[in-house]
Symmetry: C2
Subunit: 480 residues, 2 copies
């Protein structure tokens, strides 16, 4: 483990963070919201800390596996610490643990908030809050499609060959090239959504904030009532569409933009994801029709929005789904565990892994009936390596294990059974709103500080595919 | 698939069932409870049905894999159908689906009841109810230690070499010899517990019923308030001890009786099971002390009883744990999924599989840090075959998958979130009482008929290690 190189890279990333902290400054000046100084001071502190690390630890070594893991985990942690400064300096959030919760929730694209009232806060601070989502989403795309496949985490090895960019085995050039190509797609989709939302009557500032939060499947809104506040069928459907797109593997978008549209349909995970979205919408429509919504058009609008919002782990709301029938709530809780496609900005276990788990179970049963037959799990027409399958099964077991243990701890902080489980499901899966006392019209302010710390860890674990964080806890990781 | 042989064997088993239906007859005559005719008629019908199958389908073929699966699944189904007759004929239960629920709950050692009042029912019928547990437990011991290892189900292959009896590869002689040895242990433990309970003041009839229900980790009691009705510290501790013993792999008991006491401690699963029991008791004591129980002695008695009762999936009750702190309830819900040791009469996922899942996750993380190192999952000092590990991972994924889907269906029948999830956890894990509206002081009477059918299937799936039942749903299973 090369600590110098790790610290140097983290320094460079902090300097980058300082730059992004300047982005909301013009908005602050335009709105005269009084948060300019807070943003500038935060940027200055980040830049100084980053430059110190960067220039103090010079090294010529190449990036290897272990530094990869360390940089990834610590960059999310450092970003959440320095990214929390504008909230504290502007007086928006007074408590440091709350500020770190909100920022980690931003960078992990979770969207769980401790703010009880959002409207009336400084516009530039809310923009920064939405920007943390968007930056986190950028990080996740490159992490899941360029870094994790190399590190061999949780089955992401599957993407080694599929992702655009050179297939060089050295970590650095590949990461850079892949990142550039995919970020182009990400920026383009953000711009298109911003424009479309403005056509629906949103101003530029709100359109931008919501586009940031959509593409990152983040879910922070500028309104207390989330997307529901705009009360526009057009806006709901645009956001439904872009949430769906944000939940798709970004290399498919890249291929599509280069004219290979058919790749969508050829991709088994995409077909499965589309199927789940449509099936979940249909089930919600059936559960709600006549009971919650009289008009089928309204029902479809709200049901499709919520199914997509939860499945993609965005967490935007247009309805208080805790008023829906229990079976609808159960379905939403179920979707929280599935999540988006691998290589998207969505969280959860991921459609790919769920799909392969089902295929694995199917093959297991087949082998019981035909003990001498050889049958492998296949994705598309390609057999899935047994090591990859073992990673995925291990990931699933760990995900459930962490869910169980963390829910248990949350129950110890005084939450009821449903809230304890759902607060963990909603943070570990990077969704945001859950059920019970952390439902769609509630927030996380009431949770005890220790409980907030547990949920912060859940957000980090979930976002970084668990293994990336857990390896750091092993003593052998730190040995030379 | 040899249908003739399957039907012939099922016929033989039905004749055996007819014999067991006569067991409560002397009790019926002694108590004059009026259920003698109901028992005799049920025995007659079972014998006639069994003899018809047995003599109609003569065949000289040897038992093979597929008939093994079919006989196992259909024997539980047929036993639940014919075993329900005494409830119906005696007028104890008027509705056939309720009667089948109660009987399946008995034979699968689940102990979930649809009876709202137990005291006052004919003694011989309650004895039959307890006997279904005991017979189910006998079936499970031979199933898990002699049949499933041969069929290769859910990691039980691990036991191929460990189990007493000849190591012949042909299914029939091995099953018979293993069964005889292990049933000896089972009968002995039942007799000892019956005696010890009688020393605590129970009459022979109640002692026998509770011993049947303990050794099978079943949980049916002869009292409305379960074991709590006896209000005896001695009885509580005796039952705690025997529930614990019933949750241990019966081949360890067999070795111990032959003087190899140290095998308990050498067995990694046993150490883990003991550790979980002690840790869960300690956590419950901490959660309850001062809040629920003032005296530490009382606290220990009730906490140890409940921890053991739920972990071993017995489901006896001495306290209404829904009045305990939420964290205590959460812990109990968590224990429901773990269950007893493999090769015991306990249900759930089994300690062995949970242990191997943790080891697998550990190895996965190790391999991320040391990609070139070779490290296998080991149990004791023996490496676990990768096929076995894949079975276990597949089992876990299926268990969770079935839990999720069945809970979803239960939510559709009108249960609240907690009751929907916990009714499935408590039946799939063969525990009996859950939380919510199926808690320790409630019962399953209020569940809709369709919901009861779903839970009947859950009991069967859980008890037969899922795969055994699922193979029957594959068309290729039925082909020549
Ligand atoms: K989110
Ligand atoms: K039970």
């Amino acid at each position: 483990m090369n600590v110098r190189l790790t610290l140097r890279l983290l320094g460079a990333l902090l300097i980058f963070l300082a730059g992004t902290l300047l982005f909301p400054v013009p908005f602050s000046l335009y709105f005269g919201d009084g948060a300019t100084a807070a943003l500038l001071l935060s940027a200055l502190l980040s830049a100084v800390a980053g430059a110190t690390l960067f220039f103090l630890f010079r090294t010529e070594n190449e990036l290897s596996l272990r530094e990869g893991f360390a940089v990834v985990s610590f960059s999310w942690i450092l970003f959440s610490a320095f990214g929390a400064l504008p909230f504290l300096f502007s007086g928006t959030i007074s408590n440091p643990i709350d500020a770190v919760f909100e920022t980690m929730s931003g960078f992990t694209t979770t969207g769980a908030t401790i703010l009880t009232r959002i409207e009336g806060l400084p516009e530039s601070i809310l923009l920064w809050r939405a920007l943390t989502h968007w930056l986190g989403g950028m990080g996740i795309i490159v992490l899941s499609l360029a870094i994790l496949p190399m590190l061999g985490v949780g089955g992401m090895q599957l993407f080694k060959a599929e992702v655009p960019g050179p297939t060089a085995d050295r970590l650095k050039p590949r990461i850079q090239d892949t990142a550039k190509l995919l970020w182009g797609v990400y920026v383009l989709l953000t711009m298109v959504e911003t424009l479309l939302l403005m056509l629906g009557g949103m101003n530029f500032y709100e359109a931008l904030c919501h586009a940031f939060a959509t593409l990152a499947t983040g879910g922070f809104s500028t309104r207390n009532a989330s997307v529901g506040a705009f009360d526009s069928s057009y806006i709901d459907w645009i956001i439904t569409l872009f949430m769906f797109l944000a939940g798709v593997n970004f290399s498919l978008h890249y291929h599509a933009l280069r004219g290979r549209w058919r790749d969508f349909w050829k991709n088994e995970e995409f077909r499965c994801y589309l199927g789940i979205t449509l099936a979940a919408t249909l089930l919600l429509v059936i559960a709600n029709q006549g009971r919650i919504y009289g008009s089928l058009i309204d029902n479809l609008r709200y049901s499709a929005f919520q199914a997509t919002s939860i499945l993609t782990t965005t967490g935007f709301g247009t309805a208080d789904y805790e008023q829906w029938p229990v079976i609808a709530q159960y379905l939403l809780a179920f979707l929280m565990f599935i999540g988006g496609c691998a290589g998207s900005t969505g969280g959860g276990i991921k459609v790919l892994r769920i799909l392969l788990l089902f295929k694995h179970a199917h093959v297991q049963i087949f082998r019981l009936i035909h003990p001498r037959a050889v049958r492998l799990v296949k994705l598309g027409n390609v057999p899935v390596n047994r090591d990859v399958m073992q990673s995925i099964l291990g990931f699933f077991a760990l995900y459930i294990g962490i869910f169980v243990i963390a829910s248990f701890i949350m129950a110890g902080t005084g939450l009821d059974l449903v809230s304890a489980g759902m607060s963990v499901a909603a943070t570990l899966g990077n969704i945001g709103p859950g059920l019970g006392s952390v439902g769609p019209v509630d927030n996380y302010a009431h949770i005890a500080p220790f409980g907030k710390a547990v949920l912060i860890l859940c957000m980090l674990l979930g976002r970084l595919e668990i293994f990336t964080v857990l390896v750091l806890l092993f003593p052998t990781f730190w040995r030379k």
